[in-house]
């Protein structure tokens, strides 16, 4: 039986922001690891900012922005081994970059091109889940299935605050608890589900409180503090590997960008609050931490940014150089063994296309 711990109401923080709280160190994270984390965050930030530009230029389609969510993504992924699985929602569309997936693959996904299909087993990153929370049971099933096979892999499912209202979240969380699956339920609580604020989503005092009902620990972290996210995820991974089952992590932030390129949040959001959040965005906060610790300096920061920008330039060029997909792909891949009608359908389609 999983031990029910009281939800930690206070947000865990590691980064002090020179605001009196003071910076802490995280055991086991040396200079190299800290810089790796920073590289990951800059890569994600660059991906996100360039994607918004590419969308405006008509080079990718509608895009779900994750600006200021880089800390929770990078922090959690760095707490995993490569054998552990990541189940992203659309908000974590580029998380595969942290597992070596080329930017062109993710850009192709947002371009609606089949080059954006990837083999989840190549990166241990599941396909991007578009419908809300329906991937939570997948992650629970994978973690359970690995456990049954005696493998030590964990899984992490990323989802938002709105997802906790979905039945699939409940069923997945409960399955993981009952089976003792080594799963991290990573709730990106950015307090908005498009235009619906958190208070219209739940009457729970905190989302981490929900964990108690499943008999699993729930913790709350500052979702824009990459080290706090890393630390909480590392503990959850250790619990999972020790056979202690799943953990719910509520990573609190405030959505300080539109939901997606098609959204105009001025109609509903508190713009002053957004302005405030943008001033203490997560990449800058971690940069401040690293500079205070004497680990990062201007030249290094610049070279990391240039490296990420170059990767994106190459990525979009490669995505745009992909040959147009052949219409035969319409009929491919849904079945190992497709219905015989697909052949005549394709023949007819080709005839009408001339």
């Amino acid at each position: 039986m999983a031990q029910v711990l009281p939800a930690e109401r206070d947000l865990r923080r590691v980064i002090g922001d020179a605001d009196g709280a003071g910076d802490r160190e995280v055991d086991g994270l040396g200079e190299q690891e800290l810089l790796e984390l920073y590289r990951s965050m800059v890569l994600l930030r660059t991906y996100d900012e360039r994607s918004v530009v590419y969308h405006r230029q008509g080079r990718i389609g509608t895009y779900a922005i994750f600006w200021n969510h880089e800390a929770m993504q990078a922090g959690v992924v760095h707490a995993l081994d490569d054998a552990d699985w990541i189940f992203p929602s659309y908000r974590e569309s580029a998380i595969g970059l942290l597992r070596g997936m080329p930017p062109t693959t993710v850009l192709s996904w947002w371009r609606g091109h089949p080059a954006g299909w990837w083999n989840p087993a190549d990166y241990n990153v599941a396909s991007i889940c578009v419908p809300i929370a329906t991937h939570v049971p997948h992650a629970a099933g994978l973690a359970w299935g690995k456990k049954l096979k005696g493998e030590r892999a964990c899984a992490v499912a990323f989802f938002g605050d709105g997802a906790t209202s979905e039945g699939s979240f409940h069923e997945g969380a409960n399955f993981a608890a009952v089976t003792g699956a080594p799963l991290i339920l990573l709730c990106n609580n950015n307090q908005w589900a498009i235009s619906t604020p958190l208070e219209a989503q739940t009457r729970a005092e905190t989302l981490a409180d929900k964990a108690i009902g499943y008999g699993m620990p729930g913790v709350r972290v500052d979702g824009t503090d990459v080290l706090a996210c890393y630390e909480a995820a590392r503990e959850a991974v250790a619990r999972g590997r020790a056979g202690e089952g799943p953990t719910f992590i509520e990573a609190l932030s405030y959505r300080s960008a539109p939901h997606a390129t098609a959204d105009d949040p001025r109609a509903y959001i508190d713009l002053d609050r957004v302005e405030e959040e943008r001033k203490r965005e997560c990449v800058g906060r971690f940069e401040g931490y690293l500079r205070r610790a004497g680990i990062l300096h201007d030249d290094l920061a610049e070279s990391i940014r240039v490296e990420a920008a170059d990767a994106m330039r190459a990525g979009i060029a490669a995505a745009e150089a992909e040959p147009p997909a052949d219409v035969s792909l319409v009929f491919e891949h849904a079945y190992v063994d497709p219905p015989s009608t697909f052949g005549s359908d394709l023949d007819e389609l080709r005839r009408t296309l001339g």
Binding site: A121, G141, L148, S168, G172, Y335
Partner: protein, 323 residues
Amino acid sequence: MAELSIVEAINDAFHVELERDPSVMVLGEDVGRAGGVFRATAGLRDKFGPDRCFDTPLAEAGILGSAIGLCMAGWRPVCEMQYDAFSYPCLDQLITHVGRYRWRTGGKMSFPLVVRMPYGGGVRAPELHDDSPETYYVHTPGVKVAIPSTPSDAKGILTAAIRDPDPVVVLEPKLHYRTLKGEVPDGEHVVPLGKARLAREGDDVTLVAYGSMVPLCEQAADVLEDVSVEVLDIRTLKPLDEDALLASAAKTGRVVIVQEAPRVCGFAAELAAILAEKAILDLRGPVLRVTGYDVPYPYWQIEDAYMPSVERVTAAVRKLLDF
């Protein structure tokens, strides 16, 4: 060969396949300790352990959703939905993921899972224990659907479904779970998906059916002593054995399709459309349908009025012969 009921044949298939392939596992509500409310999974938990015949929480979307993850972890999960209409919560997973995940990975990952459930009416049960939901499943791209009507096919089709590399939904005629007995091959027994079965040969008219409507059509054929009736058991709705359907239509020139599901957009409509597109010159009259009505499945005291009956089927045949 052994004389088995349909539910015994299903149970036999499970014992053989779990023995043969250690990656096959069964999950569902009450499948383990109880052996399933219809006993389809009886004995599996004792023989193969609680992990390979797993009693899940009461959560149909969770069952099918976790089965996707189990596939990713290398398992071949067979999910039991306790009743036809209890499967509706799993449709979310079926439509949004089961039928799409392989496609979404560019064909790189396979999802060899099975969803099976007892289906259909006539069993004097409370509401929502009687539905014939095949159309929801057939309409979903990326999944295959089969409905056996005999004990031998129940074993052979479930075996084929378990071994199939694609997701397969198997609906089992609960009306005949225990009442219909027949010879079933011992050991491994595969009935390939996508092949119809000619249940009875005839020359004047073809009755097309699947599942629990097949025995009904055979009864109707018995009653129609002066008519040479062919009964075609479709067995697999997707992929469909079009050749068998068209061959029988060409032979008799008259087709009546029988389904117990509501009429609108039911599978009979699909079969009728195929006949209209590909067999029009072979037909001597309109393709007729005998179906349930477009109403919620009725309370059981009047359910017989809803279900296609021998009388309704024979009336349709007479009408077609008189055309």
